[in-house]
Amino acid sequence: MRFTTFAAACACVLLTGCGDWKSGQANNATANISEDSRPAPTAVATTTAMRTTAPATKEEALEIMHERHEGMEGMGKATKAIGRELKSDSPDLGVIRESARKITDFAPRSAVLFPPGTGPDVGKTGAKPEIWQNAQDFAAKDADFQRAAQAFGTAVSSGELTAIKAKFADLGNTCKACHDKYRAKMKH
């Protein structure tokens, strides 16, 4: 009997707390980021199309893979810096702007850095062969990412924190959508 009480209390463990582990959000986020009710930007974002021609030489392929790796790593660093600012009590817009520029600069480059012939059979990479087996899906996901990066850049320019947080979360989702499916674990 007394243990029934205890078991019931244990069930409460699952019901307590509410938080969001997304790096741009406060741990006990009260504002739901998806409730950003402002109208979507009317200008249709243009995206760079996927490069579909394979590099002519292995050197070129390795060069592309190198730029890809460095670019992705730079984006990771920029994302971490922004996430930490957004989570802090007094976000530094200067840091956010600087890191956001790295992301918006690299985003269109992403489309030309995944040509066929730059997979794991060519050199060390976290890019899975599935990228080229599902070229259409991959291209769609990359376009999503480019659009999200642009929208994020626009929000950062506006300087409005709520919008920045919302677009940052959207951007993170596009990173994740691609990485979950097309990135292999890579140790360096």
Binding site: V13, S23, K80, K176
Partner: protein, 220 residues
């Protein structure tokens, strides 16, 4: 009332058993969730494990006789004597006590590393990641990944020991951890149960501390 020799008596209280099995499930879930890219569930799971660890630590002082550290953590002499077969009692034996402490400690380290870690892409942060630098968070994640193998090693040892007792010593350890009861040798005193309100108090504190950690450990 006269107890029959070999009749089943309480040896593990419900909170201890619940902590044990929830811990096993949540560790498995933590592995699965992060392996399949559910990072948010993974972090929640870690927070739940934190609650269990805090609870178990407190229950080790306020719980039933077999749950209390003071009743089962022994020195090397007791362990040696146990190994020579000179031990009668219920609950964790002096050697098993080391296993309990090691598993709790290794799990606690794993949770601690996870609390300050951030993911590779900067999309997810542990609840305390903000307290350390970005580089430290990355380092913590690397160690968190490696430390899992240490945890796996101790779990493997634990399972091997349970199998050893079953096969070599003919002692069943799994059923008592489920039902809480085991046949006792004559003359051995059964478990002295804990208080239900003490369990609730421990749970309340464990939840409170966890919520404070989830909030990023703000100054009190």
């Amino acid at each position: 009332m006269i107890r029959q020799a070999g009749a089943k008596q309480p040896v593990w209280d419900l909170p201890t058993r619940l902590v044990h099995w929830l811990l096993a499930c949540l560790i498995a879930f933590s592995w699965w969730s992060v392996e399949y890219h559910h990072t948010d569930w993974h972090i929640w799971s870690g927070c739940a494990i934190l609650t269990l660890l805090i609870f178990r630590l407190m229950w080790g002082f306020a719980g039933s006789s077999t749950a209390r550290f003071a009743n089962f953590v022994r020195g090397p002499v007791a362990i040696a004597n146990y190994w020579r077969g000179q031990w009668t009692g219920i609950g964790h034996n002096p050697l098993g006590a080391l296993s309990v402490l090691a598993l709790l400690l290794v799990t606690a380290v794993q949770v601690g590393l996870g609390l300050v870690a951030q993911d590779e892409d900067g999309i997810f942060m542990g609840p305390l990641a903000q307290l350390v630098s970005s580089d430290t968070s990355d380092k913590a994640r690397d160690i968190h990944e490696l430390w899992f193998y240490v945890l796996l090693g101790f779990i493997a040892l634990h399972l091997a020991a349970v199998a050893f007792y079953r096969v070599v010593r003919g002692k069943r350890l799994v059923m008592p951890m489920i039902t809480g009861r085991a046949p006792l040798e004559p003359g051995v005193k059964p478990m002295r149960p804990g208080k239900w309100w003490a369990a609730l108090a421990c749970l309340a504190v464990a939840l409170g501390v966890t919520r404070w950690v989830i909030a990023g450990a703000p100054p009190l």
